[in-house]
Amino acid sequence: TSFFAKKVHQAAQARASFNGGGRADSNGGSYLVPGATVATILMLGALHARRLYEDKKVEEARERGVEFEFQPDVKASFLRFLPLRTISRFWGHLTSVEVPVWLRPYLCRAWARAFHSNLEEVALPLEEYASLQEFFVRSLKEGSRPIDPDPKCLISPVDGIVLRFGELKSTGAMIEQVKGFSYSVASLLGANSILPMMAERTHKEDDLIDNPPIEQGKKSWWRVSLASPRVRDPVPGCPVKGLFYCVIYLKPGDYHRIHSPADWKILGRRHFSGRLFPLNERATRTIRNLYVENERVVLEGLWQQGFMGMAAIGATNIGSIELYIEPELRTNCPKKKLLQSEPPEERFYEPEGVEITVKRGDEVAAFNMG
């Protein structure tokens, strides 16, 4: 701040001496502009400090085992009226602008400093990242992420913080967003998920063995209503025994590529072009159905233990999801319809003879900026 203040003062002095006559007027104007600049810088600094303080409080509370409760508020409701998709796309355009080579290391270091990224594991020299967007979806140096050698373990597909995990037992297979509010797995994965549920267990298991999800896929568009996901519960009943879930949150500074958690056969994907609410700690406490309403790509398939589904959920700043196994898929596209809740767009790989098998640790997708 003192550096900026000094520079601003020097600029003001230079302007005053340039103006020569009319000393009184120029003095007033020159103090007004640096004053506003300093005030803006101070305000941004204060906001950043408050954010750090709140993050620390949240971290401490979580360490003490405090469960956050759902508390809808007016600010969160206001988000529904904001053009978050447009903001996200604009942010994407802004961060994809190529910056001069000399400026690139400063930009990357500033981002890393603000969001705690580890620059030592970045694959390329910082000068080679032409834009902030390129740096954001950076790859890592070989060997930076060793894969657990135990064949009887499921590995993490991303870098992040484990928010929730457990076994799905209750009716409707509900995942708790925060204490006091849950959403159903069927709403998250989609109406035509091959998710095995108790009510249809025999039928579903036969399907998995003989003729998996393809027949169900044909009726996809008709079964989905235009209602919001919160009122749609397409697969009632209990999940079969041994159905687990794990929710992992990625901070802006984290490595943003998604890897395969196991050896599995991906049968299809489903793209929900929903909203783009932020996904931070506060948003999970204040926005209902956050994970069910946001834009997401769901991959479904089979692994050695049965069903496997992975949902990559976008947010305002990270709106688009890129699939390496299907590069032509476009997400975070401009909305052409007014309805927020459109049926998901589905593609099943197997019927087209392009069954996709991925190995544990293989890169399958990435979150892009905007």
């Binding site: 993490s156 991303v158 913080i161 484990v162 025994k241 992992i248 943003h256 992975m310």
Partner: protein, 44 residues
């Protein structure tokens, strides 16, 4: 951004009362994980 994994895994038979069998998570809530680190293991 967030990733949600939903998967089937072996469970311990309640009649056997053998806690060492079946799938169990080896992470805690709020813990930082990295690509490739184990989320959970199963025993048969």
């Amino acid at each position: 951004s967030t990733v949600v994994l939903v998967f089937q895994a072996p469970t311990s038979e309640s009649s056997a009362k053998d806690e060492s069998s079946g799938f169990s998570f080896c992470v805690k809530k709020g813990e930082r994980v990295r690509v490739g680190s184990a989320l959970g293991r199963w025993h048969e």
